[in-house]
Structures are given as C-alpha cells and as structure tokens.
C-alpha cells in the first residue's frame, strides 16, 4: 500500500489520494452529466405516456412492434451465422497460410471497420441499386438494395471484418502442435477443422457471434440508407420519435434495444477478453 506522501510544489499541496480523486473528476462530471442522467431520463420518459410502465407490455401486444422485433431478430440471426461461416473460413485460411498478397487481402477484409453505416448502405446500393453492378451485368431487373436481402447484405458487409478480427486473434493462439498431431495421425484437413480447430475456437465464435448479433440489432446508419420500406427496430424507433412524436414509445423501444445489445456484449466479453466496437 502506498502511504500518502504530501509534497508541496509552489502553492499546490496534494496527497496521492487527492491527486487520484482529481484525476477522476473530469470523467465523473462528464459521465454523470452526459451518460447517467440522460439514460435515467430516457428510462423515465418511457413511462410518461398514458400507459405508464405498462408500455413495455404494449410493445408485446401491438402487432406492428412485435413483427418489427421478430424481423430485426431474424435478419440479425441470419447475418450472424453467415458472417461466422464466412469469417471463420477466411480467418483460419489467413492465419494458417502465409503467401504473397496475404497482407492485401487482410487489409481489404478489415477496411470496412472505419465505414459509417450510411457508407455501407451506399456500397450495397452500388451493388444492387438501379444503377448497380448486378443490374448492369445481368439482363432483367436485379434491384435488391432496398429489400430485406439488401439489408442483410449491408449488415453482412460490416459484420465480416468484426467477426474476422475476433476469430483470427483466437486462431493465432491455438497451438499448431495440435494440428500437426492430428495430421501425423492421418486426419484429413476437414477433420482437423471440425475436430481440432472449431472446438478450440468455440469461445471466440460465441463472442464474435454475440458482437455481430448486437451490432446488427442496433444498426441505424445502414438501415437509414436501405430500409426505407422495411420495419427494423432502429428505423421504427427513429420514425416514432421524429414523425409520430411518440416519445414514450421511442424511449421504451430504445431501452429494450439497449438492454438486449448490452446483455449480448456482456456475454461476448465473458467469453473473450475484448469486444470490437459496435456501430453501423
């Protein structure tokens, strides 16, 4: 334990304890004013309609909100499993094989980490919009950017890099001796993947899946660009707030969304040390 040492420098005299408290002060003020109080206000605001706290029950009784919740969860699950499949395959390949151009592939696969959700949406418009690549290459009308499939592709676009980084970090820690042992015992490479690598990766896969699911659930920017006609939770919250001025319902849905994503990322963190930033 550190004894409090008082040292005078000019006119300021401070003990170590006082100095540490001073270090906390800016954070404490900022967090209280702009995180704790606003969140408390948000939770209170959700109860300020005629329904009171029963508004949370109303979410489950209103078909529109219920189908929105259902659709959001469904798209997020589909994105999660597709991203896990693609990123695990690519991640294991990139960890286990060194070849010229590997760095370039890795850069391409992690580049979208810095793209805001709106840019991801625009990428999908360039692929599947009216002037999009697919519509130009194939005869007939191939416009899917504004459908649920377009939204799925958009979510997949920003999920692949996040899942890839988590999987690769875990794969690098697996002892290559395990694979070599399996190889000398005559296991074909698909058996090595199924019996050695995937079990060792399981915690990372659960963590990465939780991150991907939470990010997809809360993605606003991509939905804002693509989902003008699709009811996903962030878009419904947005329209309830701005168009319908239904503040209580927007707040209640936000609280539900926030609790779900927070709980998921908590699970992710208990399975692997770190989480890659949400957003999109």
């Amino acid at each position: 334990m550190l004894r409090p040492i008082v040292v005078c420098l000019g006119i300021i005299c401070m003990t170590q304890r006082q100095f540490l408290l001073l270090c906390f002060l800016p954070l404490a003020i900022f967090t209280l004013a702009f995180l704790a109080l606003p969140l408390a206000r948000l939770i209170l605001a959700s109860s300020e309609s005629e329904a009171g706290w029963a508004i949370y029950l109303k979410i489950l009784q209103t078909p529109r909100y219920l189908s929105t919740l259902f659709q959001t969860v469904l798209v997020s699950i589909a994105v999660t499993f597709t991203a896990l499949a693609i990123s695990t395959t690519a991640g294991l390949f990139l960890v286990r094989n060194k070849f010229p151009g590997r760095g370039v592939l890795l850069s391409i696969l992690t580049l979208p980490l810095a793209f805001p959700g709106v840019v991801v949406g625009f990428m999908i418009i360039l692929l599947g919009g009216r002037q999009g690549l697919v519509n130009q290459l194939l005869p007939g009308h191939w416009v899917f950017a504004y459908s649920v499939f377009g939204l799925f592709l958009g979510y997949l676009y920003f999920s692949i890099p996040r899942v890839l980084l988590t999987v690769m970090a875990a794969a690098e820690k697996i002892d290559p001796a395990l694979e070599e042992a399996a190889l000398t015992l005559g296991a074909p490479s698909y058996r090595i993947i199924l019996d050695v690598l995937l079990p060792a990766l399981a915690p990372a896969l659960i963590a990465a899946g939780a991150i991907a699911f939470a990010t997809a659930m809360g993605a606003f920017g991509t939905a804002f660009t693509l989902a003008t006609n699709i009811d996903v939770l962030p878009m419904v919250i947005y329209t309830e707030f701005t168009l319908s001025a239904n503040i209580a319902m927007a707040s209640a849905l936000s609280v539900v969304l926030g609790l779900v994503t927070w709980a998921l990322l908590l699970i992710a963190r208990s399975f692997s040390g770190t989480t890659v930033a949400a957003g999109g």
Binding site: L2, L20, C23, P26, L27, I86, F93, S107, A114, T225
Partner: protein, 263 residues
C-alpha cells in the same frame, strides 16, 4: 499450398468475401471520377464531381475535422487521467466504473442520442451549438481512449516507478506528467488515432443530434445519397475514403504497436 479441396474451398470463400467488400468501394471510387457513370468509364474521367462536392460540402468536411480535434482534446483531458486513476485503483469499483463508461460501445447510438435529446433538447443555446454534437462524439469515443491507455499502464510496473520518483521528492502532479504520460504514450497514440477515426465517421448519434446548420461529413454523405446524382455521391464517398483510410491504417499500426508493449 492448395493440395486439398478444403484449402481450395477456403481460398474461394476468402476471395469471394474480399470481392464483396472491395468491389463496391472500387465502384464508388470509379463512379466519383467518371463523367457519366451510366455510360461507363468510356464517357471519360473527370474531377468535376469532386469539385462539386468541395463546393457543396467543404463546410461539413471542416466541421467534421473541427469536431474530431475537439473530441480528441476532450478525450485526452478526461480519459488519460481517468485511465491512470483506474489503473492505480484496481478493484471492484473501478471495474464497475469502467463497465459503465463503456456502455456507449454496447448501447446503440440512436438510444444514446434520444437520451441526450430528451435531457438537453429544450436548452436551445446548447442544442444548436456544435458542442452538442461534440458531447455525443466524446461519449462514444471516450471508452476507446480509456481502455487503450489502461491496457498499456497495466503492463508496466507503475507503482515501483512512482515510488522511486516519490522518494526523490516528486509530487503527484510531477509524477503524472514525467512518468505516467511518457510511459503511456503508445496507448495514448493508439487511443488518439482511434478517437479521430471514429469521430470523423460517426453517424448514428450525429444524425439525431445535428441541426441543419451543423452537418458533419457523414451527415452530408447521407444527404448526398438521398438527393444527389450517383456521381456526386460517389465523389463525396471518395473524399471520405481519402480521409479515413490513412487514419485507419495508422490506427491499426499504432494499436498493434501498443499491443506488443502489453505482451
């Protein structure tokens, strides 16, 4: 290398994923410098659209840079001392506090923005000032700075270094600036680049917090996607890429460097 069909399949999936992510970015770069995208590159290359973007959106680009730098200053002032205090007091309270300030990583920006709007939206002077958007950005980026600095500080024997300095008569402030900050520099650098990169690209909070006079770069992007021709939207995206890609590469370099120190 491709002896087995499994390897081949892995390679195909990897290349397909790369194509999925890279082709549209390439398209947007091309469309941004093509005279008429519908007719193709044969219509000629031009910088006309980039020029038009500059005329229309230079203001939002500068606003984004201004907010990103202010955000950096705020996260340095708030985050670095806090990371030090958290690293010096490892315990349950510190863990709860760290978890709490990390909430903006988990709770969607939309929900945070609604919370901020409901508490401060009626304060007109603050609501229409650029610092309102700044608050959102600091909220979102602060955990990255705190964690980045903390992970570097956790790897060095801070207590022994500080006790040595204290026995030589260095005050707490002096020890903070002469020992803690220099030792934490790799973490501060990685955190700073992360903060600037994320702030320049932040949309979810900003869209809710901005006013018509306070359009940041991504808000302008959303605006151009909705109302401009494809070439202008692409040229604007190209400008964004030119800003964000070097930042992202620098951020990845600095993070890898900081991580090497903590291992």
């Amino acid at each position: 290398m491709l002896k087995s069909p499994t390897k081949l399949l892995q390679l195909i999936v990897t290349l397909a994923a790369c194509a999925f992510l890279f082709v549209p970015t390439l398209q947007s770069v091309l469309a941004g410098v093509t005279a008429n995208y519908f007719r193709g590159v044969s219509s000629g290359l031009t910088l006309k659209w980039v020029g038009q973007v500059w005329e229309l959106y230079a203001g939002s680009i500068f606003l984004s840079i201004q907010i990103a730098l202010a955000c950096l200053a705020a996260t340095l002032i708030i985050g670095v001392p806090a990371a030090y205090a958290l690293a010096r007091n490892p315990g349950r309270i510190s863990r709860v506090l760290e978890e709490f300030i990390s909430l903006p990583l988990a709770v969607p920006g939309l929900a945070l923005a609604l919370a901020l709007l409901q508490l401060y939206g009626t304060n007109h002077g603050f609501r229409t000032h650029w610092s309102f958007v700044l608050v959102g950005h600091v909220l979102y980026t602060l955990p990255f700075m705190v964690r980045s600095v903390m992970s570097v500080l956790a790897a060095i024997d801070l207590k022994t270094l500080e006790e040595g300095a204290a026995s030589l008569g260095a005050s707490p402030q002096r020890r903070f600036f002469d020992i803690v900050v220099p030792n934490a520099l790799p973490g501060i650098l990685a955190g700073a680049l992360t903060v600037v990169t994320l702030s320049i690209g932040e949309f979810n909070l900003t869209w809710m917090l901005h006013t018509p006079h306070l359009k940041t770069l991504p808000v302008g992007l959303a605006d151009s996607y909705a109302s401009m021709r494809l070439e202008v939207a692409s040229a604007y995206t190209l400008v964004f890429f030119v800003m964000i890609v070097p930042l992202l590469l620098a951020m990845q370099w600095a993070s890898a460097r900081a991580q090497r120190i903590t291992q």
